[in-house]
Amino acid sequence: MSLPAILMKRGLLFSVFWYLAAGYSLAAEISTQSVQIKIETILASDQSDEFDSRLAPLQRQLKVMKYRSYRLLKEESQTVPWQGSAAFEIPGGRSLAVTPQEFRDKRLALKVGLQQGEKPLLDTTIRMNNGGNFLLGGPPHEGGALVISIWATAQ
């Protein structure tokens, strides 16, 4: 058999393998049952130069906000089914509700609501990479501002 013929045959073989792998990957994306939501509540302030070592993985992201001090106040994870809602207590009488909505093109859609008591502060729908995070900040707390890092990973 000539080289081009062998190449074509083996290329086809690998294509079949590839379609199977892609199908498996797509099926895995569709069949995720739940989403792990992790919330890290951080106090950012200018009252000291302390940087909480537990926040080291977030250091570069937090640096954007130009505060001098960052301290992890609370960390909580919940596993939520699709369309289910997870509620997280945030210091200062606030609460955060997170509802995973869909997983498409390797990105998760999350509905996020922040409330202070009964008063809504923010409602947003975010699309983010699986396993990624975004930061929600601004609510004042103990002479600084709260920064909430919201992570989501489909499982």
């Binding site: 080289l3 062998i6 190449l7 083996r10 290329g11 073989l13 690998f14 393998f17 590839w18 792998a21 892609a22 990957s25 895995a28 994306e29 950012a44 200018d46 993985p57 977030l58 570069r60 992201q61 640096k63 954007v64 906000m65 130009k66 505060y67 200062g92 009488g93 390797k106 859609a109 922040l114 202070q116 008063k119 809504p120 502060l121 923010l122 409602d123 947003t124 729908t125 975010i126 699309r127 983010m128 990479n129 699986n130 396993g131 990624g132 995070n133 975004f134 930061l135 929600l136 900040g137 601004g138 609510p139 004042p140 707390h141 103990e142 002479g143 600084g144 501002a145 990973t153």
Partner: protein
């Protein structure tokens, strides 16, 4: 095949000492009893002696020193990396191997690319494209800033307090300012 035929086929191997213990014993006992095979054995021994003497005479006339010197020189000589590479390529890039290598490399590249994007998770994502996109946002009349920071690929939603002072009793006012 008779016993004698089998024994004669094994005679040379036996005389060279290459038979196993039990086979060698079987050949020896047969040769001692069978005159035909005994004669065959003696002929082979004579032939070996004759060959050895001829070879020894011829070998003594040959000069082996230059041959061994040449071998040693070739072993000791350092080959350039280019020669090594050239030899490796000529042995590696034969058509059948090439036929496997091309689709394998394509599959490997595609595999690394897609698995990387599918399986990556966790905080190392902060170094990659971690941008989140905002489909909708309602801040109930408050000001909001949306920052997409390029260095860490981070999306930040910053919520400002309104003028009614809905913050805590500590009464911070500094948080009205954007910090980035």
């Amino acid at each position: 095949m008779t016993d004698c035929e089998q024994i004669r086929e094994s005679l040379g191997t036996w005389l060279d000492g290459e038979l196993g213990r039990f086979e060698a014993e079987a050949v020896r006992s047969h040769v001692e009893k069978c005159p035909h095979c005994g004669e065959e054995k003696r002929q082979l021994e004579r032939l070996q002696v004759a060959l050895r003497s001829v070879l020894e005479v011829e070998a003594s006339r040959m000069a082996f020193a230059p041959f061994w010197n040449g071998v040693q020189c070739r072993i000791a000589a350092k080959r350039s990396w280019f020669e090594d590479l050239s030899d490796w390529l000529s042995s590696a890039l034969t058509p059948p191997r090439l036929a496997w290598a091309v689709p394998a490399v394509i599959a490997l590249v595609l595999g690394v690319w897609s698995l990387d994007s599918f399986f990556y998770s966790g905080r190392s994502g902060a170094q990659r494209n971690n941008f989140a996109s905002v489909d909708s946002i309602d801040t109930y009349g408050r000001n909001v800033a949306l920052l997409r920071e390029d260095e860490t690929k981070t999306t930040v939603i910053w919520l400002y307090q309104n003028q009614e002072g809905e913050n805590e009793s500590s009464g911070d006012t500094d948080e009205k300012r954007p910090s980035f």
